[in-house]
Symmetry: C2
Subunit: 198 residues, 2 copies
């Protein structure tokens, strides 16, 4: 799963993915990346939800409906998009650690469920501490040159793979874009195709 | 359902909608419109699938996968988007007639399943004749000023409703965008909300 902390539909996917993958018996690999450079490569210097107001209005109503369905908290963020940079660096550092799921869910929920500014180090620190982790050490390492570069490389890899939004589910060479395609991706991972309907 | 004959994902929705609506016990109302003026209002003078190549590449692969799942024929169109203008005028004329479903499915399948140019009157005439209809009379009426204006008005109504793509499912004030949200729209029509998961 390729996701961005500033992306609204990534909130839904991040909250749902682990449980759905577990239920399907499919291993889940967490890959945070930055949508900003990807959008710039498409000619957007802001979220398309801001550039195209009807898309934005639809998206927020849809988020409200879908959070109600899934039982996820939702508060209209007072700022959108928020910087997901620090959260993405921390996630890049921990992407193969067992705390990546809990951290990602907590940071996403802070942004979209609690209207908190995840761009602030205090907010990220509080989340890490709440998970029993050494926040200061992790944030220092996440802000170090090695992780910064690793996140840049991962974002370049996302662009090279043809990603143009978030969230994404990649199964081999197959790309599924959007929270509503999580189930299709899991089905593909299971059988190498989509089950015919009817 | 608001759809456009030139729109790839509208093909899937048009093919699926009647059977899904019947199964859900929800009445289906057919509303063809033109995406061109809507896109122009967003600053696009072409399909976003052409303007943003990674989106386009993804879409065609996704169409291939989804047509295989649904059992719909698919041939990569040699021209995209094709003019859906004549098909939309005919559909506007017949939108409340019992032939609207068969006509819409046949025209969509010609475009995306058989790589035929639905912008050509002969192709539309053949489809209408195949449905046992008077093709010449219907095309003449569809090209008359009243229907041209009615389609313009319907397209303006789509923009006013905040549509920004196709297909769309509108249930009261609720908009659901995209083929993959048909089931959500039917659920909403049934119970005034989305069923909570888990």
């Amino acid at each position: 799963m390729w996701y961005e902390f500033a992306s609204s539909y990534s909130y839904l996917a991040v909250m749902r993915a682990q449980a759905a993958a577990d239920a399907a018996g499919v291993p889940l690999i967490w890959r945070p990346f930055l949508l900003g450079p990807v959008f710039l490569s498409l000619g957007w210097n802001d979220s398309p939800f801001n550039i195209y107001p009807p898309k934005g209005r639809y998206m927020w109503r849809d988020m409200q409906r879908l959070c109600a369905r899934y039982g996820f908290p939702f508060r209209l963020p007072s700022q959108f998009p928020r910087s997901g940079l620090l959260a993405a660096r921390v996630a890049r550092l921990g992407q193969d650690q067992d705390w990546i799921g809990p951290f990602s869910r907590a940071a996403m929920q802070a942004n979209f469920g609690e209207d908190r500014d995840i761009g602030q180090p205090e907010v990220i620190a509080e989340i890490l501490t709440g998970l029993g982790l050494d926040a200061d050490a992790l944030i220092a390492e996440a802000e170090g040159e090695a992780i910064k570069q690793a996140l840049r490389d991962q974002t370049d890899a996302a662009t090279a793979m043809g990603l143009f939004g978030a969230p994404n589910f990649v199964v081999g060479d197959e790309l599924f874009w959007g929270n509503d395609r999580l189930e299709d991706a899991l089905e593909w991972a299971h059988g190498g195709g989509l089950k015919p309907t009817a």
